[in-house]
């Protein structure tokens, strides 16, 4: 576990009690590059480097598995870009791009088992992909036809949470339930598939770490030994606010104060994200949770399609991070160390174009919700107030329409 006092950066000693802005910045970025505290298995240049603590957790990733991770990232990036374009063409109200965070999400997502539960924020399209949620199911949120098209219980991928930090407490409660039901710390015998042990992964951003709900989630998880991996994608920005608006210390070091381990991983390194998350999940499943993982990455696009980052950040920063692209380093590694040929990359490219086409087609054909959609499912047991409002509203609509044309326009469950 990291010592909470060792965060002082490699710049001259702090002159007085109050660290300068430069000290804070240096500390926050201290482990970005070339620092032993940053877990990295694939360098930005595509070289496989070893990490004695985490190598083991990526030991089974052979050429075929690495190709799968590459494929995941390319496909996810492709539909993310398509969604951005659809928004620009007025087909979506807004899109929340994940560009640059493919490795952080695919690495974490592919580390999970089917029995694990996920609580995403709103940018986790890559994690959704790994839970088997078709990208088209994300569209309703952004086109405004629903608040999430998938079944959160069946997919074990909770609905997106937009209110920053809320999901950290929900995830912790879910994980407490996993523990209360005896789904952690069970011995895995020969012939067992290990699925009797579960964990929960909670996704949130650097900005979210300031919210009370996130702190309370840390406290609860620690007190109840909840099997939850707090997975913070530090993409350096909370809309226009850089991480130093949220913290003086690197975020992963906060875990120490709550009494559980915190690890910073190169969030643009899919292999390292996979390995570190596998480790964190194993800790949780064996009863050693919670764990905080800080995936150090970068938001390569605007906060959302409504945002204009040129108002608050420099293009230089973006250029620097382009050199650390999560997909390119895997491509280079596959070519250099696994002799993967051009055909594979061309196939993935073709597959991604087909996915984008299907995604677009689906978006353009999405029907608007029936007019009484909003009255459905407000309560599990119904409400006479809502029933009356629904009836009154449908009667009102009928008054505009030729007789009977609205019949069958929805009902409960629309």
């Amino acid at each position: 576990m990291s010592d909470p006092h060792d965060w002082a950066p490699s710049v001259p000693a702090v002159p007085d009690k109050r660290p300068s802005r430069e000290h804070v910045l240096a500390a926050l970025k201290a482990t970005d590059e070339g620092d032993p505290n940053l877990v990295q298995l694939l360098t930005p240049e595509g070289e496989r480097v070893s990490d004695p603590r985490f190598d083991h957790f990526a030991g089974d990733v052979d050429s075929a598995a690495l190709q799968e991770l590459y494929r995941d990232m390319v496909l996810v990036r492709r539909f993310d870009r398509e969604a951005n374009a659809l928004q620009r063409q007025g087909q979506l109200g807004i899109w929340v791009p994940l560009l640059g965070q493919e490795a952080a999400q695919i690495g974490a997502g592919r580390a999970m088992q089917p029995q694990d539960m996920v609580f995403p924020s709103y940018r986790e399209h890559g994690v959704a992909w790994t839970r088997g949620i078709d990208p088209t199911e994300l569209l309703g949120i952004f086109r405004g036809t629903d608040h999430g098209g998938w079944d959160p219980l069946a997919t074990r991928f909770h609905l997106y949470t937009i209110v920053i930090g809320n999901q950290c407490l929900n995830a912790t409660g879910y994980a407490m339930g996993q523990r209360f039901e005896g789904r952690v710390g069970n011995a895995v015998g020969a012939g067992d598939d290990g699925s009797m042990n579960e964990a929960t992964v909670c996704f949130f951003g650097d900005g979210a770490t300031s919210q009370g709900d996130v702190h309370e989630g840390f406290v609860w998880a620690a007190v109840y030994d909840a099997p939850v991996v707090f997975y913070c994608q530090n993409n350096q920005w909370a809309i226009s606010e850089p991480t130093e608006r949220q913290s003086r210390v690197p975020l992963y070091k906060r875990a120490a104060g709550y009494g559980f381990p915190g690890v910073r991983v190169d969030g643009n390194d899919v292999l390292a994200c996979l390995a570190v998350t596998r480790w964190a999940l194993e800790e949780c499943r064996t009863g050693n949770g919670p764990v905080l993982v800080e995936a150090f990455t970068y938001r390569m696009d605007a906060h959302t399609t409504s945002d204009d980052p040129s108002r608050y950040r420099l293009a230089d920063e973006l250029e620097l991070w382009k050199l650390k692209d999560p997909i390119e380093r895997v491509r280079v590694n596959l070519v250099r160390e696994h002799a993967v040929g051009q055909e594979f990359f061309a196939d993935v490219q073709a597959e991604s174009d087909a996915l984008a086409a299907r995604f677009r087609e689906h978006c353009l054909q999405m029907p608007p919700p029936a007019p009484d959609r909003m009255f459905a499912n407000v309560y599990a047991e119904g409400s006479p107030t809502i029933d009356a409002q629904r009836a009154e509203y449908l009667a009102y609509l009928e008054s505009f329409e030729p007789e009977g044309s609205l019949a069958g326009a929805g009902g409960e469950g629309v």
Partner: protein, 324 residues
């Protein structure tokens, strides 16, 4: 006279208040360098510095709670909540401290804090970005709640709210931010906690506030063609309500339709209806009719045309009232 959008009018109002009083602070998420997601605080940090325009950490409880502390210390914080649906992490601080400190301290501690909240729907946004939570605040003793509906009011009301020694929850109709109107920067404004007759009339009274005020005015214009002379009242102050002009109007017209985007149960519109029937019982020719959002969560945006009270729904209520 100057032509301003509501967003710019608020910006100018904030600037004027900050120039007048060095204790006025602006604080919130993305209000500094970005100028707020709606640009209402655009340029203020550049001109007044980071100590007066604070890009705070991402926590609404923190924003309100520290504003309370700053107010105890003599500052006049203006807090921005980025969207209506995000005020709730700060609701505890608003209800437990901000609203009650003056009462608890027997008047020794004042809370001149403004909480600005862009509210309401109609912008095609995702969840939590289109809500109308004003009734929750109007229900809390110790808070004053206002809503502006046009650039001139926005310009004056924000300054009056900052000058007020009580906490003011200040609702801004986000879908009207970019609508322009003439603002007379020299005219003496009406008091902050006063409703206002926006259009005089004699056959029916139409009362509303915030984003629907324009809808009410459009309804009055449309009804003119049918020979109806509708009076429109902008409530402006939601707590304390200023129902004097409404009561006076209803005594003349005998009919009241109240419009709001918020759900109707236990709401500001319910309060207006209750008080008007108490005080105008003998003048009423028809029951008070309310046109509101439904008692459902704000729906996905493709349903918002159905959810929001629009011109047709207001006119339908006007017809029903007149036909009574």
């Amino acid at each position: 006279m100057t032509v301003l959008t509501m967003a710019k009018a608020l910006n100018d109002g904030l600037r004027a208040a900050m120039e007048r009083d060095p204790k006025v602070l602006v604080m919130g998420e993305d209000v500094g360098k970005l100028g707020g997601v709606f640009r209402v605080t655009d340029g203020l940090q550049k001109d007044f510095g980071e100590q007066r325009v604070l890009d705070t950490p991402l926590a609404e409880s923190g924003i309100i709670g520290t504003a309370v502390g700053l107010a105890i210390r003599g500052f006049r914080p203006v807090c921005e909540i980025q969207f209506d649906g995000f005020v709730f992490p700060g609701f505890d601080q608003i209800v437990s401290q901000l609203a009650k400190l003056h009462f608890r301290s027997q008047g020794k501690v004042r809370m001149p804090v403004v909480v600005r909240i862009p509210f309401g729907g109609g912008i095609g946004a995702v969840e939590h970005h289109s809500e109308s939570p004003e009734s929750l605040f109007a229900h809390v003793a110790g808070l004053k709640v206002v809503a502006c509906s046009n650039p001139a009011d926005a310009y004056w009301m924000i300054q009056q709210a900052i000058d007020c020694d009580d906490p003011v929850i200040f609702f801004e109709p986000k879908r009207r931010y970019w609508e322009k109107a003439e603002v007379d920067l020299d005219a003496a404004p009406p008091p902050l906690f006063a409703s206002r007759v926006a259009r005089a009339g004699s056959t029916l009274t139409l009362a509303g506030y915030g984003p629907v005020l324009r809808t009410c005015l459009e309804a009055a214009t449309a009804a003119e063609a049918d020979g109806h002379d509708i009076e429109v009242i902008d409530l402006r102050a939601l707590s304390p309500l200023d129902l004097g002009p409404v009561i006076e109007s209803v005594r003349r017209t005998g009919r009241l339709v109240v419009v709001s985007e918020a759900p109707s149960e236990a709401s500001v519109t319910a309060e207006v209806a209750a008080r008007v029937q108490e005080q105008c019982f003998h003048s009423l020719e028809a029951p008070v009719i309310r046109v509101t959002g439904f008692d459902t969560p704000y729906p996905p945006s493709k349903c918002e045309e159905d959810y929001l009270p629009d011109l047709d729904r207001v006119l339908d209520a006007v017809d029903r009232s007149l036909a009574w």
